[in-house]
Amino acid sequence: MTGTMPSHYGEEFARAEAGMIGADSGWFKAARGRALTHFSRIGFPTTKDEEWKYTSVAPIERRSFRLAGHPRNGLDVAELDRLRLIEAHELVFVNGYYSAQLSRLASLPAAVSVTPLSEALPQDSLQEHIERQAEQPGNGFAALNAALLSDGVHIRVGPGVDLKPALHLLFITTSSGSPMAFFPRVFIEAGANSRVLIIEHYAGLTPEEYFTDALTEINAGPGATVEHYKWQMEGARGYHIGQMLVHQQGESRVTSYSVSLGAALARHDIAVSLAGEGAGASLNGLYMAEGRQHVDHHTSVDHQQPHTTSAEYYKGVLAGHARGVFDGKVMVREGAQKTDACLTNKNLLLSEHAEMDTKPELQIYADDVKCSHGATVGQLDEDALFYLRSRGIEYSQATALLTYAFADDVVARIAIEPMRHAIERHLTARLPHAALVKELL
């Protein structure tokens, strides 16, 4: 359960503490200190830990990642423009730090506040959250994030507000010359009956090694509707560990999409508490990995109240020597009657060397519930492949086409058009016969 704490994070902390955000806030400083102590006690997880059985973070542990300073090098404007979304409120973070200059927040309505943590931190409203995550049991990454927090954002959407367009949080990593670590934090509070759409986008623009340890919290008030997109496009040698904690009150709706395409190693923990009657969560994911990429999703949905619903739909495509992990836990508490939960995980293995471990796990303590789960790992449908070939479509084209169709099933659900198109472009670019595949859709 416990690993060893790489002592250099203590040294990094001591070195950087005075310059960190919130350094002049007493409670925050104390919370950072406690988080560091907690981390030094529990360290990084090891594969002996049940939750990390198939995902070794030893490569992260072995590197002495340093805390990033403010980036000195300017960002390539063309590259930034490529990542921007048309019609979105946009917050841009470069190497962990918020850039007011690159962000576009002018048109936010008054009932919505979007505050970078560097400005928000002395606030007492965040104290409870920060302190809770500082000593989260069993997860060294949350403690490390709390101890070394780089920057982030606090988003509050007032009651009844329908925020349009989407909020795009763009976390860009650029070259910095040595292996760096980033610890972003996102707080989202959606007021009663509000609606908000948020894209949390990680884009690595560097071939260097780096480590992102991200923590996101969503609190959906009564009747609130939150759509959250996590778009993971870290660099080829990036490590991404992301945790998302969702707390839902009565009749709220949270839809989550995790599109995980980049990074050498990516781990996504998504934990949802359905804490109010009639709350509903829909969790969707698409991951594609090739070469020696490793991608892991762990979801846990806790049905605490009656009439709560959850629907999970995750699909993965694994090629080369890639490895995928999916672990979906659904808990239905005593008294959470009329719960409706379903969980689906489908995986496509394109190579005999690719590997997938999938494990749905249902724990049900109520008797009047509807729960289903299904997980599959397989190759392309031979019958479909033969059907296409029997019509004159070449084997490699048929393979590309069926692979794309498998993945697009999730992509097609993404409501934000520019994001959907960008992901479709990325998918086709990774397949042979891109032009033909594009035409056939």
Partner: protein
């Protein structure tokens, strides 16, 4: 057009076809009949290039070339078409684009210019009428959510668009009501003629009331045990298959 000589085929090491000889000339329509499990569908799939079957002996010459050496896509591009008994649903792949890609792959292979979207659409509209297919099906994924009859008509429609030189219809008549059967038969008859050869694989002779074959072959336990004219099909209808089986003679 097609010469099959001493063809032996196994599936899972179990012999299915045990020495088939068959000659189909240009423009001819041959019916292959036989009881369930006689190897009819296996023969159709082997000709189209399905690789789950292992050819252990024999040769197939198609239009002067060694058919068994070709991958399925080359067979299709050279004008072979298999209408599936169970057309496969392919979610996420658009029916119209799929067919356009198939048609243009064949046209490229034959050195013809590819059809653009407008030319393709007008061709498709004309051919859809042939089998009374609703144009809305073009916009759907390949066979996805099609009724049994729509799937079969979609096969004949694809055949009409691709204009094959040798069409193999694998039990295209099974599961159709009489009206759908007539539509399918009408579609096949319209495609008949000229150099186009057709092999009709069927269990019942009722399709042969509408599409008159030049020859009828009876397949049993992996061998052709009787060949004849159309009258053979009528006799089978009356007497069943048992009287032809070697066992029944013993």
């Amino acid at each position: 057009m097609l010469t099959i000589s001493n063809l032996h085929v196994c599936a899972d090491r179990k012999p299915i076809l045990r020495g088939i000889d068959l000659e189909v000339g240009r423009g001819e329509v041959h019916a292959i009949m036989g009881p369930n499990g006689s190897g009819k569908s296996t023969l159709a799939h082997v000709l189209a290039g399905r690789d789950v079957y292992e050819v252990t002996q024999g040769t197939v010459v198609y239009d002067g070339a060694d058919l068994l050496a070709m991958p399925p896509e080359d067979r299709a591009r050279r004008g072979m078409f298999l209408a599936f008994q169970y057309p496969v649903e392919i979610p996420g792949v658009n029916n119209a684009y799929f067919l356009k890609a198939a048609l243009n792959a064949a046209r490229r292979y034959r050195g013809l210019t590819e059809l653009d979207a407008v030319e393709f659409l007008s061709l498709v509209r004309e051919k859809m009428k042939l089998v009374h297919l609703d144009e809305a099906l073009l916009k759907r994924s390949v066979n996805e959510g099609f009724s049994g009859g729509e799937k079969k008509r979609n096969e004949v429609f694809q055949m009409a668009v691709l204009e094959p030189r040798l069409a193999i219809l694998d039990e295209t008549d099974s599961g159709l009501d009489i009206d759908a059967l007539k539509i399918v038969a009408e579609g096949v008859n319209r495609l008949r003629g000229g150099d186009r050869s057709i092999i009709l694989v069927t269990h019942y002779q009722r399709l042969l009331n509408h599409v008159l074959p030049d020859a009828v072959h009876v397949l049993s336990e992996g061998r052709i045990i009787r060949s004849g004219q159309r009258e053979l099909a009528l006799e089978l209808e009356e007497r069943g298959y048992d009287w032809l089986r070697p066992k029944a003679l013993a």
